[in-house]
């Protein structure tokens, strides 16, 4: 499949008075397939927004290469095929929802009012299209932001924290919309802290920490390594220990024991052994590895082995002070 986004050693560095030259984004090798939902994760100040800005041509890389939809980053032709929903966006408050779409549409040369109305209907704002942005709730503003991101029928969407600050219902609505984008064949690049959301909808993710991509790949691959917890009663602890299951833990409970083992092991052997001893299987709980676990594990580990200096920066606007 063709790559929607491809970067090779993409680097962005700034001059710092104390630390000299520091790399906010360090030799990034990012790969996003067309038609997938890609999650771009990282703690605050990891370099997520800087990366997105480079890909959008808003800021300029210090070194390395980047390609969006096969064209070098900054190519104006590409901008006709992509869209961007920034984190905590601000829209011109005096405009109505419809006027806002008209304005952004005019930047693409679009003038069809019906198209704008249809988009607003798609994001469930058609009843509020005549209200001004100042009258919109957070969720409505986010939805109009999504609407503007669909104006040019983009092949690739950059969504930065699309569900930030929204209530659970709005979360779900946005989530369903994003899924529908994939169904329509679009590529979605999401930067988010909502790991549960990302886990639900993303095909592939990358985790960036201190400017370096620590993990990148399919979610299913990255989340391998779940465990099974079997709670038993009526058998001695030694029975469980004697099973010599590797990487297994036995914990004593108020009544009984808890066997915690990797999911690769067949639980039936444990069940049979307990039954043979006339014991009771109280419960069997599979615990899949969660993205949160992976994320925490990644960001709390030592930084990449390249030994390059990285610096955590404030990513919201401009260069570090």
């Amino acid at each position: 499949m063709a790559a929607a986004i491809e970067t090779k050693q993409l680097t962005k560095s700034y001059k710092s008075r104390i630390h000299g030259r520091v790399n906010v984004v360090d030799a990034l090798d990012l790969h996003v397939e067309e038609g997938e939902i890609f999650g771009f994760l990282g703690p605050n100040g990891a370099g997520k927004t800087t990366t997105i800005k480079m890909l959008l041509g808003i800021i300029y890389p210090t070194s390395g290469e980047g390609y969006v939809l096969g064209k070098e980053i900054g190519d104006m032709e590409v901008h006709k095929l992509i869209s961007y929903l920034p984190e905590r966006p601000y829209y011109y408050e005096h405009m109505t929802g419809l006027e806002l779409l008209k304005f952004y549409g005019s930047l693409f040369g679009l003038t069809d009012q019906k198209q704008f109305e249809a988009l607003l209907e798609k994001v469930n704002l058609h009843r509020d299209m005549s209200k001004t942005i100042s009258q919109y709730s957070k969720g409505m503003q986010q939805r109009v932001g999504l609407a503007q991101s669909l104006l040019n029928d983009p092949k690739l969407l950059f969504l930065d924290e699309p569900t930030g600050g929204l209530d659970p219902i709005a979360h779900r609505e946005i989530r369903d919309l994003i899924l529908s984008f994939r169904d329509e064949g679009r590529t979605v690049f999401i930067s988010s802290h909502e790991l549960s959301e990302v886990e639900l909808i993303c095909d592939r993710v990358a985790i960036i920490n201190r400017g370096i991509i620590e993990r990148q790949g399919k979610l299913t691959d990255l989340l391998r390594g779940g465990r099974i917890e079997i709670t038993v009663d009526g058998v001695p602890e030694q029975l469980l220990k004697d099973m010599r299951i590797s990487d297994a833990n036995v914990r004593t409970l108020p009544s009984g024991f808890l066997l915690d083992m990797p999911e690769e092991n067949d639980p039936n052997s444990v069940i049979d052994a307990v039954r043979n001893q006339k014991g009771t299987i109280v419960s069997i709980v599979p615990r899949k590895k969660r993205l949160e676990d992976l994320f925490v594990e990644t960001v709390t580990s030592k930084p990449g082995s390249t030994g390059k200096k990285t610096l955590t920066v404030e990513e919201t606007t401009g260069a570090p002070k």
Binding site: L56, M76, E77, K80, R88, P89, Y90, G318
Partner: protein, 261 residues
């Protein structure tokens, strides 16, 4: 061009809703309305005082509006991230800058038009002299060119300095630009001035924007003064203004193109 026009009209819509600008405009209009009272206080030369006051009010208010309108324009867009949703579209940075500038100038023009209308109406109530009113309107037209130049200065500085610094820079440039002509005239006519100082002053007078060129109110306030080829002078200073606006906008584009937002 379409993008520039869209950005410009959006900028106008935003500008005319900014409270601080509306307050400044309201104060200016109020002063215009009460100015005839001041003219009456001067039993002698009532019309002279009235004309001088009203034109001075328009010029001063317009300068404040021009500066306040433009120093925050680009930094606000960056801080609120509205610029990102625009630059992520097929809009070049220079189109964005030009669109913002044109929007600022349009908004400024609308506000000045309102003040000029109040001026005309108030003056007409006092004097009922159509030719005097027509004469009076020439000054605000030149002030508009002057303020467009001032707005271009502010936009240029806003591409690389913070709003507070820009406020003082632009205000300072307006002050200096208004001083250059009379200062240079004094210097060049004075016998005791060293030649080097005269050359330096000449360079400064040539290179930096001369806002004094647009202070054409004196013959309007004192109508007995006769100016030859007034229209030619107006045309020349307008072309001068366009040249200088071009310089500032190009300079702004060159800086903005390289700027991290």
């Amino acid at each position: 061009m379409r993008s520039i026009f869209s950005i410009a009209t959006t900028t106008v819509g935003e500008a005319i809703r900014r409270r601080v600008l509306l307050i400044i405009l309201l104060i200016g209009v109020l002063f215009l309305v009460v100015a005839p009272g001041l003219g009456v206080l001067s039993a002698r030369s009532e019309t002279t005082v009235l004309r001088g006051m009203m034109l001075g009010i328009i010029q001063l208010t317009s300068a404040v509006i021009a500066i306040v309108l433009t120093v925050y324009m680009i930094p606000n867009e960056i801080e609120r991230r509205t610029i990102y949703t625009i630059l992520s579209k097929p809009v070049q940075r220079w189109q964005f800058l030009i669109g913002k500038y044109l929007g600022a100038v349009l908004a400024l023009g609308l506000m000045m038009l309102l003040m000029t209308t109040v001026l005309v109406f108030t003056f007409w109530l006092q004097q009922r002299d159509a030719s005097a009113v027509a004469d009076l309107v020439k000054a605000p037209v030149m002030y508009f060119v002057q303020m467009s130049l001032l707005a271009a200065v502010a936009i240029f500085f806003s591409t690389f300095v913070s709003p507070l610094v820009n406020f003082f820079l632009t205000g300072g440039m307006y002050l200096l630009g208004s001083l250059f002509n009379p200062f240079f005239q004094t210097l060049s006519e004075s016998q005791g001035t060293p030649a080097l100082a005269k050359v330096f002053a000449q360079i400064v007078n040539t290179l930096l924007p001369n806002f004094a060129n647009y202070n054409v109110q004196n013959p309007i306030i004192n109508p007995q003064t006769q100016i030859q080829n007034e229209a030619a002078y107006y045309l020349q200073v307008t072309i001068y203004g366009l040249f200088y606006i071009g310089i500032l906008l190009v300079g702004g584009i060159l800086v903005f193109d390289r700027r991290e937002v």
